[in-house]
Amino acid sequence: MGDVNSSMPGFSSLAELNAALDAYSFDTIDLSFARCTWFDANMSAPLGVVLARAVDNFNSVELKEFRPKVEEILSKNAFLAGFGFAKRSDIYGTTIPYRRFTTADDRYFAEYLNGHLRGKDLPRMTPALSARFRNSILELFVNAAMHSESRLGIFACGQYFPRKHRLDFCVADAGIGMRRKIYKELGLKMNSDRAIEWALQEGHTTRKGKVPGGLGLKLIREFIGLNKGRIQIVSDRGYWEFNANGETLARMDRGFPGTVINIEINTGDTCSYCLRGESRT
């Protein structure tokens, strides 16, 4: 396991790890982090998906040979607590801890989010910006719960990077991915990068029946555009990123076993604090 940042190479390396672990069942896996010098804490959510799948395949997974900095990052956000490491206190209060939820946990998830995003050391945001951020993440959770068919649940983690004025939050599932879901529900065949593009269009939804859908992701994209933040979506081999410089759509060599959405808000952009209904001070 090398370095893992919130980037296409970071997601690709988790997809590679997943492919490597898929070869094992009823086995003991020792996963070395000796070559990992940095791990973006929010990427614990997709790492959680990969390791949960390995454990679901009746493997025993042991994580070892951490460099002190990486062990500190993954201990502070409670990720390593599930692998026998002691939890460390988050003295700077920049962590929104790693959690695994069931798809029925929407209220519990809201409580977790509302509680942690009111932390005293997280960036001070206007009530409107904070609400918009929290509700965007809730939208991601409910989307994943509704569409992903993730038997192993939904994985979440966030991190505030004070020097960069960035707050990242990642929601990952171990479900069937957008490409397969669109084919299953609508019979539309497309590559996984194109499937992400499809899902981002206003009004596009795999829902059928009396309750409309297909608005949530579009609104999140608009919000992130105003805020000059960033969204990354990984689903199967598809990778899409939207930031202040534009959009990137690509395909990774290996597929991620589900869907991950990482949203990053720019907490240093005071203009974007003036959302509708608020006046600038």
Binding site: D106, A128, R134, N135, K189, M190, R237
Partner: protein, 120 residues
């Protein structure tokens, strides 16, 4: 003018977190029951902690599925105690619902594309 009944989402859902389709469905059912009793509904958004489109699609969006004319809904459903941002989201959800019911998946075939062998 039909008699007005005030319905509080907070009371129907049993709390301030309004995110799931299931909770949205409860609100939808209350509204339609009131309509059947020939009431105009004043839907209160007071005490909201979280609100997302998945909830609004079920609570309000599905009212536009054909059982009620838009003119009936304009006359018999009003929203109160609602923040500007929430109203903007509600309006988007209503527009999205109208489009959804007017053209269910009709434009999707344009997305049918050539699929690489390794993604079949």
């Amino acid at each position: 003018m039909a008699e007005v009944v005030k319905l509080k989402i907070f009371d129907i859902v049993g709390g301030p977190v309004w995110v799931s389709t299931e909770d949205g469905q409860k609100v939808f059912e209350k509204i339609t029951t009131a309509f059947q009793a020939n009431r105009t509904v004043d839907l209160s958004f007071a005490n909201r902690e979280n609100l997302i489109t998945a909830f609004l699609n079920a609570a309000i969006g599905q009212l536009y599925g054909g059982a009620y004319q838009e003119s009936f809904l304009k006359e018999h459903l009003v929203f109160s105690d609602i923040a500007d941002d929430d109203r903007a989201m509600l309006e988007r959800a209503i527009e999205n619902a109208k489009r959804y019911f007017a053209n269910p998946q009709g434009y999707d075939q344009a997305w049918q594309g050539v699929v690489d062998e390794d993604e079949e």
